[in-house]
Amino acid sequence: MVPAVPPPVRPNPVRAYFGNIRRAVSSTFEGMTVTMSWLFRRPSTIQYPDRTEKPVREMLPETYRGLLEVDLSRCTACLLCAKTCPLGCISIETCKHPDGAREFQTFDIDNGLCMFCGLCAEACNFDALAHTREFEASVSSAEQLTVRFVDRPGRLVAKAKDLPPRRPRGSILAALIPGFGRRRRRAAPPEPPASPAPAPAAGAEGPENPEGTA
């Protein structure tokens, strides 16, 4: 298991001397041919945020764990998510009406605390709480990091029996925070037709990019 260390071999000094020169020259040459070849290869960076072919949000896979959003019309206030969260960044409060229905008081998610682990979204049985592909979350003060999902008083807690379809992911956050992550974008420089390769995914400038100025 523990090998014996062989003694180091002392090479002939003259051969070593010229061997060093030879190897130094040849390995430098090899390295330079590699770096030279990169001058002819396509750079792999994208020019985030303003010169991408499409918004980075749309390049992300569906599974991406971005900012959390909750569709309150599907939320039964079972508090599973709040209990699962290791950090306690979800705070839910409901109050009871005299007529028996429950009403949301607060449904806040503190993005400053959230570590985007996805445990809460997994715990949600009704596909109400989910990650979006939104990731540009910078705001100008710590208070704004908390997203308050209860948009109007008197929003009733959903019943598990008849849930409306899930609203598209990201739409709730977008409605809640106008201009959130929707910065002005410049169109990507058009791909020159010189390359015979299949063109990149069509519709590079979608409706997301209304003021696409070159």
Binding site: P3, V5, E30, G31, S44, T63, P86, L113, M115, C117
Partner: protein, 555 residues
């Protein structure tokens, strides 16, 4: 040799030293009398039939007396020992008086115990008599209290800095505080230049401080000082429970989060006795091996960057980006994966992702040859690493080096093959060891070379796993974990070596004690030993070749 047999031998050689043999635990423990610990340890290490040369872990566990219990409280110190040659191990435990916990040091028997004992002193207040420099390791020198004690209360402020988020938010912004600086107590060596390398130094791979004593370019000594990234994840695990700890394990090793995930899942699954579906095991292996490649890419690339070659690093970063994109598809995040669950994985891998992995491997394999031409065979690069900071096999074991660092010294030990877990026995791959291509066995180049060759082995495993992945469920539903009182040590082979989780459960939803054994922690201890006589630039190569990353040390 089983733990019971080891116990027999110990009892025969040191009569009266073993107080109790806890055979009912998943990992049986020998409870020793504290005053006989050194004697037993020396026997275990030196006995030709035992040869436990590797001290895996030293853990302190605070066990205050329960209010309704008759048994007196105490502090346990648990030692995990292992023998690479004889492939057996045992756990030792001493129960110390809680008011005055003192035990003799074993740092002269196993050098890596030095830091473990300092950590234990720091976080639990256990005094190790005879320790050469028993000072706080992770917490600041003027910190009050020992955080891993069960009755520890966090102070409201430290040097005027609020310690909780609530206070910070309430006050609007943190008060103006003069930054706390590092004050060293060690006497300067006369005639040597003394300077700080780190925490803000490009080559320290995170925030680590080295106090250098140099004679011009040549080092007299480099003393590492860690704790800048200490987040108390072991303490957090006691508070957030088994499920909630999973995302925290991502933060232990941010380059190999899949392995810390895996280790944690293995430990808890062992405690619970959960079977993992086959497809989930394949998902785990595929994700793990991708992650291993990504981690090795960063490691080898940043070593090249530390030696002044910036380009290889960016090429590897580019390849790693593709892995990150794939990871994003697999588990939704690029760095903090939080992919594994008790009883499976959070999401199945879809066929399209498998296709992407295959294309990437096809592209990446020739890229490795290109990388060899660009940097690995470069004469300057070779000369910078060959023969530098040689670690002998015996030293590597004694200092508790693991993973590629250990294998580079010639010790062919891979947890995947030698202590199999998951479905690794089904795959054909080689355990790479150092081959002294350019210098001495166990030098910095060997460590680098081992990592590169390990990438190739990982590619082999990936190809096999993708060809053989079965249909089926990727997750079984496991109720909220609440394991009975027990102890387990589970380990996986991470990119920085053995990534072990020692979990003590007490029948609640939260672990009683969770202990993370990471490769970087022990790798750090050897730097001080190797540094005399190195040049300043060699130290950079040494740190880079050991592939230490700060959060793994500090946790």
């Amino acid at each position: 040799m089983t733990p019971a047999e080891i116990r027999e031998r110990v009892s025969a050689a040191c009569p009266g030293a073993v107080e109790e043999f806890q055979a009912d635990l998943l990992d049986p423990v020998l409870r020793l009398r504290p005053d006989r610990l050194r004697e037993v340890c020396r026997f275990l290490r030196d006995d030709p039939g035992l040869r436990l040369h590797y001290l895996r872990l030293v853990t302190g566990i605070d066990r205050p007396a329960a209010a309704d219990s008759e048994t007196p409280g105490g502090i346990d110190v648990v030692y995990h020992l292992w023998s690479y040659e004889l492939r057996h191990g045992c756990q030792l435990r001493v129960r110390l008086d809680r008011a005055n916990p003192v035990v003799e040091t074993v740092s002269d028997l196993w050098p890596d115990a030095n830091w473990y004992e300092r950590e234990c002193f720091d976080l639990l207040g256990v005094t190790f008599a005879g320790h050469p420099g028993l000072t706080r390791l992770l917490m600041p020198a003027d910190w009050v209290g020992h955080p891993l004690r069960k009755d520890y209360a966090r102070p409201e402020r430290y040097h005027g800095l609020p310690t909780s988020r609530a206070t910070v938010l309430a006050e609007g912004r943190a008060a103006e505080v003069a930054p706390a600086m590092h004050d060293t107590k060690a006497q300067p060596i006369e005639g040597y230049l003394r300077l700080n390398m780190g925490p803000h130094h490009p080559a320290t791979h995170g925030v680590i401080n080295f106090l250098l004593e140099t004679d011009g370019e040549i080092l007299k000594k480099a003393t590492p000082d860690v704790g800048y990234l200490h987040r108390g994840i072991e303490k957090l695990a006691e508070q957030v429970g088994y499920v909630g700890t999973m995302p925290y394990t991502d933060r232990v090793d941010y380059l190999g989060a899949m392995f810390t995930n895996h280790g944690w899942a293995l430990a808890v699954e062992k405690l619970l006795g959960v079977e993992v579906p086959r497809r989930a095991e394949f998902c785990r292996v595929i994700a793990s091996e991708l992650n291993r490649i990504a981690s090795h890419l960063i490691s080898t690339g940043s070593l090249a960057m530390d030696l002044g070659a910036f380009t290889p690093f960016l090429h590897w970063i580019r390849e790693r980006e593709t892995i990150n994109d794939i990871m994003e598809r697999i588990c939704g995040a690029r760095l903090t994966y939080n992919y594994l669950r008790f009883g499976g994985v959070s999401r199945d891998i879809d066929p399209e992702t498998l296709d992407k992995i295959k294309h990437w491997i096809d592209h990446f394999e020739p890229m490795m040859d290109e990388f060899d031409r660009l940097i690995s065979s470069n004469e300057i690069f070779v000369r910078r690493l060959a023969g530098v900071a040689v670690i002998s096999p015996a030293d590597a074991i004694a200092y508790g080096l693991v993973g590629p660092n250990l294998r580079a010294s010639g010790v062919a030990w891979d947890t995947r093959r030698d202590e199999p877990y998951s479905i690794y026995p089904e795959f054909a791959f080689d355990v790479v060891t150092g081959r002294a291509v350019h210098g001495t066995l166990g030098d910095a180049y060997d460590r680098y070379d081992c990592r590169l060759r390990e990438i190739k082995e990982s590619l082999k495993i990936l190809r096999q796993a993708m060809a053989a992945i079965p249909e089926g469920e990727a997750r079984v539903k496991v109720p909220r974990p609440k394991p009975a009182a027990n102890e387990v040590y589970a380990r996986v082979e991470g990119p920085r070596g053995e990534c072990g989780f020692y979990v003590v459960s007490d029948g609640t939803e939260k672990p009683y004690r969770a202990r993370f054994r990471t490769g970087s922690f022990t790798a750090m201890t050897i730097i001080e030993h190797l540094s005399p006589g190195l040049m300043l630039a060699d130290l950079v190569a040494l740190i880079g070749s050991l592939d230490v990353i700060a959060p793994e040390i500090d946790r």
